[in-house]
């Protein structure tokens, strides 16, 4: 009985008792969710265009963030470092396309997945050799991003604190999704990307260059990774630990569906808010720390009812 009370009644009583705290928790979850969504966005971009499940997206985030900070540490001004970091992601995209994706065209999914894990290993090693293994401080103020925070009064007894950088992250994520939507739907390259996603062979036959498209997609994913790296880095540090966090994008993708950009965003928010609220209000019952797996279990339960995700295409199987 006590147990049931603790699970079913008490958390809600706490929520009702301190609505300002609840809003704070939901806000924290929202911001974490935005960042998960950004990582997931990188996954979706590549999955849509090439059917590759890009495991290296997490390390690409770290790598982009590290090159930005590393260049700045070498004395390069922040704006130039940003441009150079974008350049590095472009070079990376071309290299990945040329040396990994092109030779592996037509291989089964698992082989491509493995290749991206191999890439992860390579990039971790490369990043550590070049930039060292220590966490680095993100150059938030130099990039012109807001720091500081604003407190909102909630009635007479509550206070909700919003970090400006979090608001900036949400805005940037929104802009990115908007920009990608326009890019996909309104531009020539975007149409070519969607054509490739629909059918490789048909796209080839109408004169779309697969190699070029893939390089562009990896570059777009690289830019998303750079934005994610800046935002994550501003919240904590730029370190290789981010790579494990990036795995959280997988349950996000499952919730949203592998091929849907809005799905990535909404899935990210559900996972982000769900795991924060779960951790704060229910985590204490089992000793805390459930954040590390709650997202996966949410995704697992979800999968049992809707295997293709919220917005994914229906899976049809034939013999």
């Amino acid at each position: 009985m006590d147990m049931l009370y603790n699970i079913l009644i008490d958390p809600f009583a706490q929520m009702a008792g301190a609505p300002d705290f609840l809003i704070q928790v939901i806000w924290e979850g929202f911001v974490a969710g935005v960042l998960y969504a950004l990582i997931a966005l990188g996954f979706v971009l590549i999955y849509k265009a090439s059917g590759v499940f890009n495991f290296a997206q997490g390390i690409m985030v770290v790598f982009a963030g590290l090159s930005l900070v590393g260049l700045h540490e070498k004395g390069v001004p922040a704006w130039l470092a940003l441009i150079l970091a974008i350049g590095i992601m472009a070079i990376l995209a071309v290299c990945i396309e040329k040396f990994v994706m092109r030779p592996l065209v037509g291989q089964p999914d698992i082989i491509l997945l493995m290749a991206t894990i191999g890439m992860t290993y390579f990039l971790i090693g490369l990043g550590e050799v070049i930039f060292g293994g220590e966490p680095k401080q993100m150059i938030t103020s130099e990039l012109g991003l807001p720091t500081g925070s604003t407190a909102f009064e909630m009635g007479e007894r509550g206070l909700v604190i919003l970090q400006h950088i979090d608001i900036a992250a949400a805005v940037i994520a929104l802009l990115m999704v908007g920009g990608l939507a326009v890019f996909f739907n309104r531009t020539r390259i975007g149409r070519a990307l969607r054509a490739v996603a629909d059918d490789h062979t048909a796209a080839l036959s109408v004169g779309i260059s697969l190699n070029q498209i893939w390089a562009i997609v990896w570059f777009a994913a690289g830019i998303v990774a750079l934005a994610t790296g800046i935002m994550w880095g501003a919240r904590s540090d730029v370190s290789f630990a981010l790579e494990i966090v990036a795995l959280k994008a997988l349950p996000v993708l499952i919730l949203g569906g592998f091929t849907s950009i809005p799905g990535a965003i909404i899935g990210g928010l559900i996972i982000g808010i769900g795991e924060k609220v779960g951790e704060i209000y229910w985590g204490g019952l089992v000793g805390g720390g459930i954040e590390s797996w709650l997202a996966y279990v949410i995704a697992l339960i979800f999968l049992l009812f809707r295997p293709q995700g919220l917005f994914g295409e229906k899976i049809i199987e034939r013999i």
Binding site: P108, I110, G118, G287, G289, S292, Y296
Partner: protein
């Protein structure tokens, strides 16, 4: 020329169905076994404990994963956690029943891992492929969390780690820090050889064929009378059992003490790499893959400074990681079916040599 089955007539069904139907294979296996048995005479304590023992244990874990991913076609990223279940349940068994032979405990601990595997394998009945991989990630992170948050599992140690107590078999110390490398090596070798043989036979038999049917096309298999529930869950159970035993051995014969971080996702990936590089759906490939992924970094760490590449110890580790990443991609490009396929091609070449046109 030397590797040719010509003239070896099979006169009984038993002879035709044996594991190694070709005489040269039997000789080869015998030679490998003899070398493995004599290895402690030639090898140093370091070679035995840091290379040979973990190689054998990880090869067994790779076989476990290969059953699931290579034979039954269910992608799993939770191998590390299932190995952890084996290790922790073995530790609990050994401390609760100290008078029972430790080898019995090690073999029993796999049962707990199998149970965990079946529970987390349940979603495989509805989902497959990458989606299933995510549910096994749930297993990975949830079980890892259990190892940290449930103090009963590590007997309320203040360090949060499990330490292997010394246990004797036939008057020889085989576990714990004081046990000699040779003794541990022989126990590991015996378990790995016996289990590999058993698994080989399971795969050759009815269950193994059902797994492969499920892998190749589950709907078609179902129409032909294979029950997916039984086939998939038995694959999860057997695979997790093998992984659990490997995990128990990993701690009891190699590490000596372990903390939850040992069974992190890194280990899962390492084993998955071994399975892929070695060749999915191949037992001999599991050994190749384990050797490649486990021994190569050690060689690189020893070899790079010796080659005159003067770098700090830390950098060697990172460079080794880069090289491994690059090699993985290289191998996937050159031979996506793994080292086992290279081995098969080599055998075929040897068969027709020196008359390749014959």
């Amino acid at each position: 020329m030397f590797y040719r089955e010509a003239g070896q007539y099979k006169t009984t069904y038993a002879a035709d169905q044996q594991i190694f139907p070709i005489r040269q294979d039997r000789i080869g296996i015998a030679v490998i076994l003899v070398v493995a048995l004599l290895l402690p005479l030639a090898a140093s304590e370091f070679t035995l404990s840091a290379i040979a023992i973990p190689f054998l244990v990880l090869a067994l874990a790779t076989i476990g994963l290969n059953i699931l991913t290579g034979y039954a076609g269910q992608l799993s990223l939770g191998t590390g956690a299932f190995m952890g279940v084996g290790a922790y349940s073995c530790y609990k068994l050994v401390t609760i029943f100290p008078e029972v032979n430790v080898i019995v405990h090690i073999l029993l601990s796999g049962v707990f891992a199998a149970a965990a595997g079946v529970v987390f394998g349940l979603p495989s009945l509805r989902i497959k492929g990458l989606y299933l991989a995510v549910t096994t990630l749930a297993a990975q992170f949830f079980l890892e969390w259990c190892f940290i948050r449930i103090p009963w599992l590590y007997n309320y140690n203040s360090s949060g780690a499990i330490e292997v107590p010394g246990r004797e078999v036939f008057g020889t110390l085989i576990t714990g820090p004081a046990a000699s490398g040779t003794a541990r090596y022989y126990v590991v070798l015996a378990i790995v050889v016996v289990m590999t043989l058993l698994i080989k036979n399971v795969i050759r038999g009815r269950i193994g064929r059902q797994w492969m049917m499920i892998r190749d096309m589950d709907i078609a298999a179902e129409l032909m009378g294979v029950r997916p529930l039984i086939a998939k869950l038995s694959a999860f159970a057997v695979s997790s059992y093998v992984c659990g035993v490997a995990g128990a051995m990993f701690v009891f014969f190699y590490l000596g003490a372990s903390e939850p971080a040992v069974f992190s996702i890194t280990l899962s990936f390492q084993v998955l790499f071994m399975a892929i590089i070695g060749g999915l759906g191949s037992l001999v490939g599991s050994f190749f893959g384990a050797a490649f992924i486990w021994i190569l970094p050690i060689l690189l760490r020893v070899g790079l400074p010796a080659l005159g590449v003067d770098v700090a110890a830390e950098t060697v580790f990172q460079v080794a990681q880069m090289i491994i990443g690059a090699l993985i991609i290289f191998f996937l490009i050159v031979e996506p079916h793994g080292l086992a396929r290279l081995w098969a091609i080599g055998k075929e070449k040897l068969r027709v040599w020196p008359f390749p046109y014959a």
